[in-house]
Symmetry: C2
Subunit: 160 residues, 2 copies
């Protein structure tokens, strides 16, 4: 793999190579994860995107927010929510205070299905990230820091 182990850092890597490897790994991980999630969703009779929405939907949320969650156009959300509604898992309710917005809310069946899906994804994560406990916590912390962005990472102790 590392044809030019030029530096003597021990781990055999300048930053670019680490990034390249990371890129490849992330590709692979997300690919497998997506496949397994889709399979789990299909098991419950749900298409991928609809399952994704269901998983995210804890309380009533406006359509617009779903579009943000999915990083897609609002017009797309219409179809996905249509699907969920057809399956009886959500309903559209007029939002109080602003008659433009419609809130997507879970039905009882939707709540139930959501719990099932949640259970699936957790057990999926449990078997997928088959690591000793401390490593799992470390992975969690690293990912959390990645999500919060480059923020308090350079400073070690905040100046209080």
């Amino acid at each position: 793999m590392s044809a030019h182990a030029d530096t003597e850092t021990g781990a055999g890597a300048d930053a670019d190579e680490v990034v390249a490897e990371l890129s490849g790994l992330v590709f692979e991980v997300t690919g497998r994860l997506r496949a397994q999630f889709n399979a789990a969703a299909a098991e419950l009779g749900l298409p991928p995107a609809q399952a994704l929405v269901l998983a995210k939907l804890s309380g009533p949320a406006p359509m617009r927010q779903l579009a943000d969650w999915l990083s897609c156009e609002p017009s797309n959300v219409t179809g996905i929510v249509d699907g969920l509604e057809r399956r009886g898992l959500v309903t559209r309710q007029p939002a109080p205070g602003d008659r433009r917005v419609k809130h997507v809310v879970l039905t009882d069946a939707g709540e139930h299905k959501r719990r099932e899906l949640d259970c699936c994804t957790h057990s999926l994560a449990r078997t997928f990230f088959e690591l000793p406990d401390p490593d799992r916590q470390q992975l969690r912390d690293l990912l959390a820091r990645v999500l919060t962005g480059p923020q308090a990472s350079t400073e070690k102790a905040e100046p209080s």
Copy 2:
């Protein structure tokens, strides 16, 4: 959150909670990553799945292998490769030795586009995983271990 903090591990977590958090984080990370990758692909005039194939395709590979990479049905691959062929990025060539299989091989334009895409994904990974170097290496190592599966994870020091 942790209603039953029964153990006193200090980090406030029994394994289930860590897994639950990990599940949520991974959801978020993969979602954003997918969105950014799709955007980068669109920048190069490529639909997501075709970009995915292009990124994976280093040498000639039979259709079947692509299906495995994408975790999808072979019939789906036909369409995706049709798209890449229409764009002049790959060609289908009969495999020597077995006249059933067709190899998907990059054209010159395909090689070029692939390099562009590679460059994009690397710079994407670089900015997405904005962490100090040692943390980045650690993340890489953890992901690598996740991919290789539950194998030499219980032992700490390899005998080498």
